[in-house]
């Protein structure tokens, strides 16, 4: 049976989902991008191959996430879609009545408003990453609590402490000051979750009509403390889908199936790419005052893609 691959290259994690023709998840991989998106994609495919016994017949590939362009030239994508559309598609697939998607990833957070099965509004944090996964990661590191346990601490708190939430720097110093005064860790962590939710609703969710059913997606949805804080603030149930961590990748895979059904063939380069040798280098073009930073993506020392120039002068040379 043929399957479809979705690759979501985010700032913090790279997620891969393999779905069947009926859009059921066959396998998923969640790994850290660690600042090296190409290697993460290759490594992710290796893990995927190990997880699946027997042959995988990949009939279509979609990429999403902030690294979608890069990922698309590595894997040979049939569709390249922004993560907002990808998340909405995946949400609608499991919950056709969904009206709100809250998505919090490594470095961005978004709200997607849907009505009658289509996206009618969305917002994404623009200038501030407070309350996103990286910040929670950093705090769990600082407190030496595994990130998986972080949310559980919040649930044990009976009287949360108020933490300043509008800025990660303010939040951290507030947390430290309260910790040094002797407040319990549980109460500080629950206070933090509430602050981050407050910040999300004031910033990303400002002016948006958040109605149920609400799905909570992205890596941060694993944090039960955040889920509880959302429910408390919104007064509605917040559902965390089983595969919340790879919803973007699932969306990309669904979109790949749609794209392939139109054109009847795939651009997928095959799983061999996981062993290919990719390199990148960049230079500053001196053709005009723009001084664009042009990037070469090379596979086995041959340039397979080039971008970064505003005028497209370099984009198509030697590719």
């Amino acid at each position: 049976m043929s399957s479809f691959l979705g690759v979501d290259v985010g700032s913090v994690s790279t997620n891969i989902a393999l779905i069947d023709e009926d859009l059921n998840l066959i396998e998923k991989v969640y790994l850290r991008t660690m600042g090296k998106p190409i290697e993460a994609v290759q490594k992710g495919l290796k893990i995927l191959k190990q997880k699946i016994s027997g042959n995988i017949d990949i009939a279509g590939v979609g990429t999403t996430g902030s690294g979608r362009q890069l990922a698309s030239v590595i894997v040979g994508a049939d569709t390249i879609k922004n993560e907002i559309t990808a998340h909405a598609v995946a949400a609608l697939n499991i919950e056709p009545d969904v009206q709100t998607v809250i998505e919090i990833g490594g470095q961005d957070s978004k709200v997607i408003i849907l009505r009658d099965g289509i996206v009618i509004d969305f917002a994404m944090n623009t200038v501030c990453a407070a309350g996103t996964g990286s910040f929670l990661d950093q705090q769990s590191n600082r407190l030496n609590i595994p990130i998986e346990e972080f949310g559980k601490y919040a649930l044990r708190s009976k009287s949360p402490v108020r933490i300043a939430g509008r800025c990660a720097v303010f939040a951290e110093s507030d947390m430290i000051h309260k910790q040094q005064m002797g407040y319990r860790l549980e109460d500080i962590i629950r206070g933090l979750c509430q602050a981050l939710v407050r910040n999300y609703l004031n910033n990303v969710g400002k002016g948006k009509e958040i109605l149920p059913k609400i799905l909570f997606q992205g890596g941060v949805a694993a944090n039960v403390g955040m889920k509880a804080a959302f429910e408390e603030a919104l007064g509605y149930e917040v559902v965390v889908p089983e595969h919340h961590d790879v919803m973007g990748a699932i969306g990309a895979a669904i979109l790949a199936r749609d794209a392939v059904s139109h054109k009847k063939s795939t651009n997928f380069k095959g799983l061999e790419i996981m062993d290919a040798n990719y390199t990148v280098d960049s230079f500053e073009c001196s053709g005009c005052p723009n001084r664009c930073e042009v990037i070469n993506i090379k596979m086995e020392n041959e340039v397979i893609a080039r971008w970064g120039d505003r005028c497209n002068k370099w984009k198509n040379i030697g590719v």
């Binding site: 362009q69 879609k81 907002i84 994404m124 200038v127």
Partner: protein, 366 residues
């Protein structure tokens, strides 16, 4: 006297002509680049907005290139921009530069000062008739730039070969820049229309329509908005901009001279939502959004420099406009970022949403 001035869209070409024909040596400011931003952010107050930083950087570049006079426009607030020239002048002096700073203030309140300042930049003997002729030529040139740009907005979403419109448009700008007389401009106008119309276009595609509103500098200067109009056009969007250099000058400087409120219809449209002026272009952003909605546009994009108070006010009013007129609104904050990926993600998602909504409205959505 060697004059430099702010860089904004294509206006720098016409301003160069103006100043040269009035008998000045001109240092044409370079297009805002990473270097401009680095100078600007290094010397500006941290919380100043992007236009402030770009302009400050531009002045430094101009002074380094040998300019001894800066000319800019002022304002009467309450937007901070009204104070910008004063603050910029102080910063530049504290850096050790020696120069004259000529601020052109709005004519209704400072007509006398404006007159004196204009006299300062006329540095060759000329009759009133000659002066008038120079003004007319420059005005016609500016109008032609705006026309070519409007045309590129219409054609870009329909182009068959991606990037062709932008390429032809840039060629047109170069041709217009070369003009020396009003007669030449007339010929060039036809040439520009012919060139643009010869671009290969799709016939079976209907673009979605988006109106751009927001603070003037980030709306008019592509280097400040990461070429948003090009990006949108290539995503299949017909873009209309609420502001063009010529239109802005008429409605804000010339009408001001006669104590008439410019853009009355815009202010009227904003009234149910926004009755007071809050400085900058906050009220205009709301009014224009209403006008776009009434004209059946699919969406409005608001561009604002990060920390811009008037646009922050407008941003919180826009959802009410969106709700009342069922139009989609996307607000974008611009700052020093030069990476386009984040902006592109938002624009792609917004355009996806507009097409889906349009299909649904037209009953083409299963």
């Amino acid at each position: 006297m060697k004059i430099t001035y702010p860089y904004m869209g294509n206006s720098h070409i016409a301003i160069k002509n103006l100043l040269e024909r009035l008998g000045n040596e001109v240092v044409v400011p370079p297009r805002p680049s990473k270097k401009t931003l680095s100078y600007g952010t290094q010397h500006a107050p941290e919380f100043a907005c992007l236009p402030f930083k770009i302009l400050l950087g531009t002045y430094i570049e101009g002074l380094e290139m040998g300019a001894d006079t800066i000319i800019s426009t002022g304002g009467v607030g309450p937007c901070r921009a009204g104070l910008y020239t004063t603050l910029q002048e102080r910063i530049l002096r504290s850096l050790g530069y020696e120069f004259d700073f000529i601020t052109l203030e709005p004519p209704s309140r400072y007509l006398n000062a404006l007159y004196k300042n204009i006299k300062k930049i006329i540095n060759r003997p000329m009759t009133l008739k000659e002066f008038w002729h120079v003004i007319r030529f420059v005005w016609e040139q500016l109008k032609l730039f705006d026309m070519a740009e409007r045309k590129s907005f219409e054609i870009r979403p329909l182009e068959v070969n991606q990037g062709e419109t932008s390429k032809v448009y840039r060629e047109c700008v170069d041709i217009i820049a070369e003009a020396r007389t009003i007669e030449e401009l007339k010929e060039i106008k036809n040439e520009v229309i012919k060139k643009m119309d010869s671009i290969d276009r799709r016939k079976d595609f209907e673009p979605v329509k988006v109106g751009l509103v927001g603070e003037i500098y980030v709306v008019l200067e592509p280097a400040a908005n990461l070429e948003i109009e090009e990006t949108l056009g290539e995503l299949g969007v017909y873009v209309e901009r609420s502001m063009f250099f010529t239109h802005y000058t008429v409605s804000n400087a010339i009408m001001d001279l006669f104590h008439l409120a410019g853009e009355r219809n815009v202010k009227k449209a904003a009234r149910p939502f926004f009755n007071e002026m809050c400085g900058g272009h906050g009220r205009e952003s709301v009014g224009n959004a209403v006008l776009y909605a009434k004209r059946g546009f699919d969406g409005v994009i608001q561009l604002s420099p990060f920390t811009c108070i008037p646009e922050i006010v407008a941003k919180s009013v826009l959802p009410a406009v969106a709700k009342k007129y069922d139009i989609s609104v996307l607000s974008l904050s611009l700052d020093e970022q030069t990476g386009k990926a984040g902006l592109r993600t938002r624009l792609e998602a917004f355009v996806d949403l507009l097409f889906k909504k349009k299909q649904k409205k037209e009953g083409r959505f299963a």
